[in-house]
Amino acid sequence: MLKRNGEFVRHEVPGYPARFTDAELASYNAAFAIIERDYKQIENVKSQLDRLAKSNWEMETNPRPFDTVSTRDGTQWKAYGILVNLPKSDVLLCRKPEGGEWAVIQQLKTNGAYAETHGKAAVLLTGNDPREVSNEYIGQAEHTLRFMARNLTAKAQEVVWEKYPDSNPSRVMRAISERCALAVDNPNALQQRQEQSIDQGIKKSRGMSI
């Protein structure tokens, strides 16, 4: 087994090909714990967007709305689908009863300070084709996820450099940065790397050479 700074290099982390020492892993885990909640929200939204992007868009001849949404200007929209479901809000695909205009509408489910002053429903996008407005929303939401991932990396940096300055912080930060970026741009690669490392761990534990 390899050694670095007198420590065995034996720990794997998701999305990063190299292994960590005990000290590097402690730094990684401490920093990741700070961002984990928001990181899981990235994973959650990304998986919903991917599912949405793969949907075949076979519209029924007479689709039935499941809800009516009122925006602050008094416009009533009929909701036909949930694009993204979050704990405190939904992003809905809606249509105007008259005229047939489609919209992506963010609907807040709780009465927080923002909902009280800005209303519970906000139109994010409008268009004539439900597939087009949905695809446009997917692009915007992925941009938001990249914005989140970048901020989580910066947030982790504070822990890694300030609390673990002697535990190879640049290496730890590369792993965290890579994991955050993959969660948005290629979650399948992240999943595959995790499965490979589990697979290799099983083979090693059985004494097999790879």
Binding site: L86, S89, Q106, L108, N111, N151, K155
Partner: protein, 71 residues
């Protein structure tokens, strides 16, 4: 209080109060993802902390909660 203490107090008083995006989302009653999308729609300006983390000024957050336009 000596001169150095005075200086520290004055310096702290000049520093604008900021909050993280996660805290701003919590204070507004929003999911973190929703708060990031609000920032991207230019409803509220953001700045960088010395670590590179994005932050919101407390004053702008208060304006957003009162529905004055901080941008």
């Amino acid at each position: 209080m000596n001169e150095r203490d005075h200086s520290a107090v004055n310096s702290a008083a000049k520093e604008p109060a900021t909050v993280s995006f996660a805290d701003a989302a919590r204070l507004l009653g929003l999911d973190t993802f929703t708060f990031y999308s609000i920032v991207q729609r230019d409803e509220i300006p953001f700045d960088f902390a010395f670590t590179g983390e994005f932050v919101i000024s407390q004053a702008d957050l208060d304006k957003l909660a009162r529905k004055e336009s901080p941008c």
